[in-house]
Amino acid sequence: MSPVPAVSLAAAPHGFLSPTGVEIAFLLVGLVTFGAALVTVTTRQLVHAALWLVVALGGLAVEYLLLTAEFIAWVQVLIYVGSVVVLLLFGLMLTKAPIGRSPDADSGNRWAALAVAVAAAGALVWVVVDAFRATWIDLDGPAAGTTAVTGQSLFRHWVLPFEALSVLLLAALVGAIVLSRKAKADAEPNTGPTSDPNAGPVTATAPAATRTTPTATPGAPTATATTPAAPPGDQEGAR
């Protein structure tokens, strides 16, 4: 490790065997994140998968903070943990996923998927470690990702993509509304041959919703896995 390439800073001697405190913290949080991601894709309880996804995304937010990208970290917390996971939970409940353990969460090709994923992980980790084995990030000095720096670069160099992104979000909003409305309009004449997918489950979940509504905490999406059992009836009514 003595020949440090010119592309790195080449100022201070670094070593693999003397990790800094930031590296140790990054490693520990990374282990938590990786474990939560593994549980997310392997658990058989669908709501638990969404709640472990919260842990994984929150761990990634902490990693962003350790990389001094504070604005990205808070955007991650706000958008992913705050809205995307709540949307996923709503989706799980609107499709009436089983709350308990569902034995058919994994399809039959999970061993092929495991082989592909392990092969891809091996290849990617090997290539990445081999490529960046002598590269260090200098985290000292003024932070490289503060909100001021991010805002200046965003509104100085990236204004046009930023505006285009707002148009994209508007298109996504309109598209989601159109998809929902059109599906409902099409479902009306098709209720005969497809035996009315709306009518049966509503009556099936209505007693469950009324039973578990007092225990529900709508304002706490990161609550324990038993409480989200309530909202499907409410959402079905709202739709």
Binding site: V41, L67, A144, A172, T194
Partner: protein
């Protein structure tokens, strides 16, 4: 910080998401795995942006800008994806992607959904 730490974590998260996309059967779980893959890419972008802002004196901060754009596009994607999944669920009564094979060309032919429809209702009733 060694650059290999975020890069390796990002690669591992991406492969976990890849496994989830390939192995899961519920469409919403597949969307969760896609979110994991997008987050792995975001971690890579942030790490390389912090590295390049010091090493190459980069003031463009393209990594962080692209991370913000990726987060916004992922939010749009999850909204549209859930709308599609809900529409499919309303029409079919299932969100099992193994049963949505209308466009498949196989030995069961285009009428493969007729034996699936009672099974879907049965699974729905047990759920």
């Amino acid at each position: 910080m060694h650059l290999a730490y975020p890069a390796v974590l990002s690669a591992l998260l991406f492969c976990v998401g890849l496994y989830g996309v390939l192995a899961r059967r519920n469409a919403i779980l597949v969307l969760m795995s896609v979110e994991l893959m997008l987050n792995a890419v975001n971690l890579n972008l942030v790490a390389f942006d912090v590295w390049l802002s010091r090493t190459a004196r980069d003031t463009l901060h393209s990594g962080q800008a692209l991370t913000l754009f990726t987060i916004a596009v992922a939010a749009a994607e999850i909204g549209i994806g859930l709308a599609i999944v809900l529409a499919v669920y309303r029409n079919r009564g299932t969100s099992d992607i193994d049963r949505l094979r209308d466009t498949a060309e196989g030995p069961d032919g285009p009428d493969g959904e007729h034996p699936d429809t009672p099974a879907a209702e049965k699974a729905e009733a047990t759920a």
